[in-house]
Amino acid sequence: MTAHPTASETSVHELRLGNAPRGFIGTIVALQPDIAGAAESGHELERHLLEMGFTEGARVEILHQGAIQRDPIAVRVDNITIAVRRREAMAVVVK
């Protein structure tokens, strides 16, 4: 899946973590988990992301990305590193 901006991106400063480039540093604004094509949908994906520490206000940084289509990404969430596919990271709104 290629990354593309979605309608819910209201402000120029807010974007989806799944679209962010490597080296991006920001803060989580919200989780909006209704992503087409994600392995889990809606609440379950949101729960899963919460369990891995993707909470509002957490500091995120994209440390690494895979060789094929820049996927998956390794994200520093506060003080731990989580590997996640860009598709699921689309649920995370960051600024």
Partner: protein
């Protein structure tokens, strides 16, 4: 403290913790080699139980529950953890005390889990593991304040240090002597989203109040990852690690394997010399000793593969390998973690299938188990080389490519290609309703492996292989020996004795079924002892064509085959061996690892069907091309 009844009643402890919290090291330190690894009934989830005795002489059973970040029960593993903690797992005693292991260097996710566990009402003791590493990194934790804030006793531990383990044993005694009445598990409901957020906020608040983080994060992991997770350098390093691993499996294991197989051969010969010729001699030599030998011969490979896997896992590299390979594997519907087990299967499907334990998700694991036997294992090499050297001319094509090598390469590619295709088909047809587990994986900080813990891990795997797979493999070997030996050849009969056996009768009976593949009855007969291990088919072909000698006679067998088989038959035979499920040991391990006969039968049938169709197509195309 009274010593009257402490030894009579078993005390049940359960270990709960997030993945990478050092749970297994602590489990190993507490129980040593007193562990039993099995499967939970009906599921492919590993049940690890151990035992130890407290200073007061109390017998304690310790259950190492699958790692989890929550009690959500998203996978069968996590369901087990949840059900055991709630006391709702049939056949499993409700734990008297839950030890929650928290990585002291990484508390954020575990503290939320602890708060969630607290809500179950089950008595809880928090163990801050790897406290030494945390201190060295400059993390300072006010343990008393944390204990007060959580409302749960907290102790610190260094999994490998004796003192920490002793204190844990001591605390178990203390707890058990004034054990509270427990009403846990009733009325528990899964957390809602807002409750989860509340708990995480509370966890974050407790961390702010009781933990002082260093100003600098762990720079070593960051620096190593800059290279190891680099899109190009990372893949090169992964390839290098795998190269060393396979060198080890093929070349380090080789002398040991030869030593084992030679020793068993010598033992067999000795038995043959000591005992008079007859059924007992044949049973001991060809049934029992050869059977035990054929099981034991895999042991060096299994030990080496698990040594590597456990080392890589403990270093924290496994998660990185999964990260690097996720997209490549994902194309075929496989999980990133399936990579190592499938590569191991090139050596032998048995350690490969056992290595699928690194895949948490049950369906991802089953898919990997089902396709692992399609990877070209080393036992196929003798069959391939025999047929190729007998039938494929050693010509050079396109100026520089050796034709024999090209065919060999083609056979490997056919194996890999069919494995990927099978995975795709399995996902598409069998599990359409199934939502694959998303790839969400913590990349833990690098840590030095604890050698004692690794040793216990390898020992447990080796023991498990010998005990469980050993019994099944051995009984199949004896069955095959029986088929190939009875009834015995009448006195003065001509030709090899196997021609008069049940194997030959079955071979003749099956001949019409295999005739469309270009197989004659000799091939069909050879396939039966070939069930023991694929390379045995070579020897069996030698036997049915009445050629004396063992490995040295391979050239002679090749010549005999070249004069008796058509090229179409030979190609069809090769195609058969790409897919053929004829390895009793692999089937036994599949049964053992999936905990069900069903998956063993499924594997056998689908591989058999693939082999039949592939051979049928190959034979007919070759015949049409005038090679019949």
């Amino acid at each position: 403290m009274t010593h009257t009844d402490v030894t009579t009643e078993r005390f049940h402890l359960a270990l709960v913790g997030a993945p990478n919290s050092g749970k297994t090291s602590l489990f190993n330190a507490l129980t040593g080699s007193r562990q039993k690894v099995a499967n939970y009934a009906g599921v492919t989830v590993e049940r690890k139980a151990g035992a130890f005795v407290t200073p007061a002489g109390r017998q304690v059973t310790l259950l190492d529950l699958p790692g989890t970040y929550s009690l959500r029960g998203r996978s069968p593993d996590e369901e087990i953890t949840r059900d055991v903690v709630l006391g709702k797992r049939p056949g499993e005693a409700a734990p008297d005390l839950v030890l929650c292991i928290a990585d002291a260097t990484n508390l954020r996710l575990t503290l939320r889990l602890i708060l969630e566990l607290k809500r179950t009402g089950r008595p809880l003791l928090v163990v801050l593991n790897m406290f030494d590493i945390a201190q060295r990194r400059g993390v300072s934790i006010d343990v008393d304040a944390m204990s007060a804030a959580l409302g749960v006793p907290v102790i610190t531990s260094i999994a490998v240090k004796k003192a920490g383990v002793e204190e844990l044993r001591h605390r178990t005694d203390e707890f058990a002597t004034n054990m509270p009445a427990v009403t846990a598990g009733d009325g528990w409901t899964p957390l809602g989203l807002s409750e989860m957020k509340t708990l995480q906020r509370e966890a974050d608040r407790i961390i702010r109040e009781t933990v002082t983080m260093p100003s600098k994060p762990d720079t070593l992991t960051t620096r190593v990852d800059a290279v190891v997770l680099h899109p190009v350098a990372g893949l090169v390093i992964l390839a290098l690690i795998l190269f060393v691993m396979f060198q080890a499996v093929f070349s380090w294991a080789q002398p040991l394997m030869e030593l084992l197989s030679d020793s068993f051969g010598a033992l067999g010969t000795l038995v043959a010399q000591v005992l008079p010729e007859g059924i007992i001699q044949s049973f001991l030599q060809n049934g029992l000793i050869a059977g035990v030998g054929s099981v034991l011969v895999f042991l060096p490979q299994i030990i080496i593969i698990f040594l590597f896997i456990l080392l890589l896992e403990d270093f924290g590299y496994m998660a990185r390998a999964a990260f690097l390979m996720d997209r490549v594997m994902g194309g075929a519907g496989l999980h990133g973690r399936a990579f190592i087990p499938l590569l191991s299967s090139f050596a032998c499907a048995i350690p490969g299938i056992m290595a699928t334990r690194v895949i948490d998700n049950r369906r991802d694991r089953l898919t990997t188990i089902l396709i692992a036997p399609l990877m070209t294992c080393s036992a196929r090499i003798p069959v391939y080389t025999l047929i190729i050297s007998a039938f494929i001319p050693a010509e050079t094509v396109w100026g520089w490519v050796n034709l024999q090598g090209l065919v060999m390469f083609g056979l490997y590619i056919a194996g890999i290609g069919s494995a990927l295709a099978a995975s795709f088909v399995i996902k598409f047809f069998m599990w359409r309703d199934y939502q694959p587990a998303p790839f969400m994986l913590e990349l833990p900080d690098y840590k030095l492996p604890r050698l004692k813990s690794i040793a216990i891990g390898v020992y447990t795997r080796a023991k498990m292989f010998l005990q469980r797979a050993g019994t099944t493999i051995l009984s199949m070997m004896i069955l095959i020996w029986f088929l190939a030996s009875f009834p015995q050849a009448p006195a003065g009969a001509e030709g090899p004795a196997i021609n008069y056996s049940l194997a030959a009768i079955i071979g003749h009976a099956l001949e019409p079924f295999f005739a469309p593949l270009g197989f004659n009855w000799q091939i069909t007969v050879a396939l039966i002892p070939g069930m023991a291990a694929r390379e045995v088919a070579v020897g069996a072909l030698g036997t049915v064509y009445a050629i004396e000698g063992g490995k040295e006679a391979a050239d002679a067998i090749g010549q005999a085959l070249a004069s008796k088989w058509s090229l179409a038959t030979a190609l069809s035979f090769l195609a058969w061996f790409i897919f053929a499920p004829q390895c009793a040991s692999t089937l036994a391990v599949i049964r053992r690892e999936t905990g069900s006969t069903k998956w063993m039968v499924v594997t056998f049938l689908y591989m058999f069907a693939l082999a039949y169709v592939a051979s049928l197509i190959t034979y007919n195309i070759a015949k049409a091309a005038g090679l019949g």
